[in-house]
């Protein structure tokens, strides 16, 4: 699992590459836990190369959501593969998180 951060003005884009499981979730958790992340207005999660997510990966996002909301930081997922979106859908998390098709919608959200 590789996480690449691309900051630009008030937006931080995190590109996820690989499989997010109980072994690799710590890499993402470390990135989302950085205090500086709350200085951005939006954090965009580019899921184009995210090929797998388990409950451990979902848990990392859930555990930071309140902190982001309290700081008025929007968390937006985009470019999600169908099989990964299906995992959010099965648990009903697609209704609680902002998931949009492309970077254009993510930037406009």
């Amino acid at each position: 699992m590789k996480v690449t951060a691309q900051p630009s003005a008030d937006t931080l884009t995190l590109l996820l590459d690989g499989e997010l499981d109980a072994s690799s979730a710590i890499v993402l958790d470390t990135e989302l836990a950085k205090p500086d992340i709350l200085n951005y207005r939006k954090v965009l999660i580019d899921c184009a190369k995210l090929s797998y997510i388990s409950s451990a990966g979902l848990g990392v996002f859930i555990s930071h959501l309140q902190r982001f909301q309290d700081a008025n930081v929007k968390l937006i997922f985009f470019n999600m593969q169908e099989k990964v979106f299906n995992v959010f859908e099965i648990l009903g998390l697609d209704a609680l998180m902002t998931i949009v098709p492309s970077v254009t919608e993510a930037e406009a959200a």
Binding site: S54, S55, K83, V87, I90, L91, L96
Partner: protein, 137 residues
């Protein structure tokens, strides 16, 4: 055709488990979503055995067996450790509460129950075994 894998109880082997399940299912005409659902269910149960039942003790090991009966996939995950691990009834996760609490866990078995047709944990001697099954047409 049956396929088997033995792994030590370390979460670094989860990738190997997923690849094993994917490779086994590749010969079937299944969608990526269907394959991923089975891979995820097995990954969740194996992660629970590794982390919660065996505290990541690498001297312990798990045995996985995959077999098709017509269109029904049967998965056995046998824990060779001596800790009996029988998850109780799984409540539906309350995500509003989880978000407020900043909670990371508590949804793995809920996922497994939604992904598979049948989920059973039982004891064999002093070991725990999990059986999963799913109809894959």
């Amino acid at each position: 055709m049956k396929s088997a894998l033995r792994i030590a109880c370390s979460r670094v082997h989860l990738q190997q488990v997923r690849d094993f399940v994917r490779n086994y299912l590749t010969s079937r005409q299944l969608s990526e979503v269907a394959i991923n659902q089975v891979v995820l269910a097995v990954d969740e149960v194996v992660a629970n055995f590794i982390i919660h039942a065996n505290s990541e003790d690498e001297t312990q090991f798990l045995d996985l067996t995959l077999a098709f009966d017509q269109h029904d996939l049967n998965v056995e995950i046998a824990d060779n450790g001596d800790t009996i691990f029988l998850p109780g009834p799984t409540p539906n996760p309350d995500f509003h509460a989880y978000i407020q609490q900043g909670r990371k866990g508590g949804m793995g078995m809920a996922l497994v129950n939604r992904l598979m047709d049948r989920v059973e944990f039982f004891t064999r001697g002093n070991h725990t075994v999990c059986h999963l099954s799913k109809h894959l047409a």
